[in-house]
């Protein structure tokens, strides 16, 4: 049976993990290479590395980290942040990423999705959407959630899929950082609107929130950015709880 994926997300700035999962047993809690390896061992189904600064002077540091992380990571590895054109994506793939995420650049020029997909395959293109509840429906924000676009999130997800996106990574800005649970309504609307997988993000605060977003939100995967903040030992423990609730997960692995 196809399982629901738990994706570990590491936010990185200047080559160091700055947010996300905190470790107790690491020699160096900020080293992305080691963090990714520990997650993989603990049962993460995928690793996402987000370069949250993405300034040009730190770009080469990022590529070097991607390359070192990819060398020993034999699960899907996604890299995002600062990808504005095909050549940016190509550099990240060359460094060893399996997929890239694009956000603002895709909103600005949706043809970028098809361009990257034509060269590297749709499976390698994840379109990240930051959405916020609006007067009516959900609105797309870009530039790290700073700039409203006036676009409807569900409509944009449909368009991105039609352009050749392989997956949608959907972040609820209302829930992000609140630990109040994923936005199941938003997730379900997008999941029903597209046939490509939807990764839910923003708001995880307990194992029950994952159960809810898989069942009610119909998410295919969910992002665990700060799982240790709510007292879980590791991803394996989360997976055991999901399994006990009859959510299909890759466990043991």
């Amino acid at each position: 049976m196809l399982t629901k994926r738990i994706i570990a997300c590491l936010d990185m700035d200047g080559g160091r993990v700055v947010k996300g999962v905190q470790f107790v047993n690491l020699r160096d809690a900020g080293d992305p290479v080691e963090c990714a390896a520990v997650h993989a061992r603990d049962g993460a189904d995928e690793i996402v590395l987000l370069d949250i600064t993405a300034t040009s002077d730190k770009r080469n540091t990022m590529l070097e980290v991607v390359s070192r992380t990819a060398r020993c990571l034999f699960i899907p590895f996604t890299v995002g942040g600062g990808i504005r054109e095909l050549s940016d994506a190509a550099a990240v793939f060359d460094a060893g990423a399996d997929k890239i995420t694009i956000n603002s650049a895709a909103v600005k020029d949706p043809s970028l999705i098809g361009e990257i997909a034509a060269r590297f395959g749709s499976q390698a293109v994840v379109v990240a959407i930051d959405a916020k509840r609006a007067h009516r429906g959900f609105e797309v924000f870009v530039a790290g959630g700073r700039t409203p676009t006036g676009r409807d999130a569900i409509q944009w997800a449909r368009e991105a899929a039609a352009c050749g996106a392989g997956e949608i990574m959907l972040t609820s800005m209302d829930r992000d950082g609140t630990k109040a649970g994923f936005d199941c309504e938003l997730t379900q609307l997008v999941a029903d609107a597209v046939s490509i997988p939807v990764i839910a993000s923003g708001g995880a605060g307990s194992p029950q929130h994952f159960i809810d977003v898989f069942r009610d939100g119909r998410a295919d995967a969910a992002l665990a950015a700060s799982i240790f903040h709510f007292g879980l030992e590791n991803i394996g423990q989360l997976k055991r709880e999901l399994q006990a609730a009859n959510v299909p997960v890759r466990w043991p692995c």
Binding site: T3, R71, F74, F93, Q123, D220, C253
Partner: protein, 196 residues
């Protein structure tokens, strides 16, 4: 030496990396002459079945078929596995190699497509590629078309329908999932292939 055939379909880094990790001597090549000198051949590939048309135009198809017919261990991954069948509804104008009977078809409309993520194997005994692989291991998939279960299927997976996850016939092997992205289970299969 293992030749990973590069015909322009996607990113072959991950496949190479996995073989490097296992200590295998491996080259990624676009050259039919290099494929001809290899001891083993790997045909990866993602994307559309029509991408395989590039094999025909570059002389790689002949080099790959000669190696396979000469008994060299051959592994098709994802699209490379679909090529081992007669063809695919995704691009009916391109012929597969026809080592296995049947054509690749889309998933039934009852399930979302593409099929992306970790799904379990139903392993049949006696597989060489799956030696020491636990019977219900999880592997990572990403594909929109699937190959039928045939007599040479040594593992199947269920998603809307039952399809071939692994096929093998003498020296010819095919896997629909990505062993290079399937954690220790996938590495074990690649190690088995290296040791053939």
């Amino acid at each position: 030496m293992i030749a990973i055939v590069d015909y322009g379909a996607g990113n072959l880094n991950s496949v190479k990396k996995a073989f490097d990790h296992l200590g295998a001597k491996v080259v990624v090549t676009t050259q039919p002459e290099i494929v001809a000198t290899a001891d083993k051949i790997v045909l990866p590939g993602v994307g559309h079945f029509s991408a395989l048309g590039a094999l025909d135009n570059t002389g790689l198809r002949d080099a790959v078929l000669q190696g396979a017919n000469a008994g060299k261990p051959f592994l098709g991954i994802c699209l490379g596995m679909q090529w081992l069948f007669e063809g695919s509804d995704e691009a009916p104008e391109f012929a597969g190699a026809g080592f296995f009977e049947g054509r690749c078809r889309p998933f039934p409309s009852s399930v979302k497509s593409p099929h992306v993520g970790w799904n379990s194997l139903e392993v049949r005994e006696g597989s060489h590629l799956l030696r020491n692989v636990a019977p219900e291991s999880f592997v990572y998939y990403t594909h929109s078309f699937q190959a039928p279960v045939v007599a040479d299927t040594t593992a199947a997976t269920e998603y809307g329908t039952r399809f071939s996850a692994v096929v093998e016939q003498a020296n010819i092997f095919g896997v629909q999932f990505h062993p290079e992205k399937s954690w220790t289970v996938g590495l074990l299969m690649l190690k088995n292939f290296c040791e053939l």
